[in-house]
Symmetry: C2
Subunit: 224 residues, 2 copies
């Protein structure tokens, strides 16, 4: 695709879903304009381009909107050359879609339940569901990343959540003992130069990783 | 892809998610062996090939499992030539993914809430959410199908639910008045020869469409 494309990303501070879109764009080396959205006072641009969910991230590619973080990541992978985010092998591609869906359907709802449900019993149930789904993910991580040696769809969907769940959600997941591969994968992805670029700069004076997420988790308004 | 592939589909009677996989396979003209699963007594084959969700449908392509109905549909589209299920245009492909995700994330949870939630208030809320999301879908349906003149991903995800929601879920959706395009699209897809093949034969003595779904909705065990 020609490089003189107009690319904008509507995002909000503290949204890990926006981080997914940013990582994909940066992996491909796409130049884009970042437009900050205040989630308490959504702009007409956001409401016009994501009238269904009214959420960030929204990618505007020559003014055409693409919404939902995993849909954006896959679109970016198809629209630009560069690092391959989804495997080229059909079967592995289906597996990547399966596992990224697992993260959104099982892992993250459990994270939000454990972090924000006002009912103590539900909170506890969320913690159990989270431990169970992390165990399943742990067994799936065979190499440095889910995608092998380079960052792929499942890594973007899952890995950077891990280092912060314990601290931000306040769950004693005992990562390094129970989920050693996820723990290591989380560190690997956070040390990747592209991912570092996404997180650093959000709050340079504080721990950029934690600063990035804390606002999100405590805002209780997950975007997707 | 060569035609001498071994293709099996693990399914269960009354599962609209299995119907999605069947429609995709039949649209492509793929010969496959259908293996019936009893959801109250799941086989070792199912548990081994979908250990994460333990649900149908599971596609076995030369013994390699692909799970989750929309992942299967997309895999089938990529693995076999024939009718194109996802648009070839990148932007339209992203839109198809967005809308099929909308069906699974918004429409169907509302259907299940309205149909099976034991709490009357929640049931009612499910009904409202369903009406709201159907209104959004109605506005999206521009042609005969979401995909234009041929059946595509969103049609497989969404359309054949419509004719049965009112009767099976027991909601007065007043389809033809409020959702005339969805009503017509639902009829169009059910009259398509491939879709007819999928539904007819399930219960030849009864209305095949309703017979197919009633068991599913009242079993209260949605598969995906």
């Amino acid at each position: 695709m020609a490089s003189n494309q107009q690319v904008k990303l509507l995002g909000a501070k503290g949204s890990p879903f926006v981080a997914r879109a940013k990582i994909a764009l940066k992996l491909k080396g796409v130049q884009y304009e970042y437009i900050h959205e205040s989630l308490s006072n959504k702009s007409d641009l956001l409401l016009k381009n994501n009238p269904v969910h009214k959420k960030v991230p929204v990618l505007l590619h020559n003014d055409k909107p693409v919404c939902e973080s995993l849909v954006i990541v896959e679109y970016v992978d198809e629209a630009w050359t560069g690092s391959t985010i989804l495997p080229s092998d059909l079967y592995h591609r289906a597996q990547a879609r399966f596992w990224s869906k697992f993260v959104d359907d099982k892992v993250l709802p459990a994270v939000f339940k454990a972090a924000t449900n006002p009912n103590e019993k539900e909170k506890e149930k969320g913690g159990e569901e989270l431990r169970e789904s992390l165990k399943i993910l742990e067994n799936e991580l065979k190499g440095k990343f889910f995608n092998g040696d380079s960052i792929g769809l499942v890594d973007i969907a899952a890995l950077f959540w891990l280092p912060i769940i314990q601290e931000v959600v306040g769950l004693d997941l005992n990562n390094s003992e129970k989920y050693p591969k996820l723990e290591k994968g989380g560190q690997e992805i956070m040390n990747h130069h592209v991912v570092k670029e996404v997180f650093v700069g959000i709050s340079p004076e504080a721990d950029p990783l934690l600063a990035f997420f804390k606002g999100h988790f405590h805002s209780n308004t997950p975007s997707k």
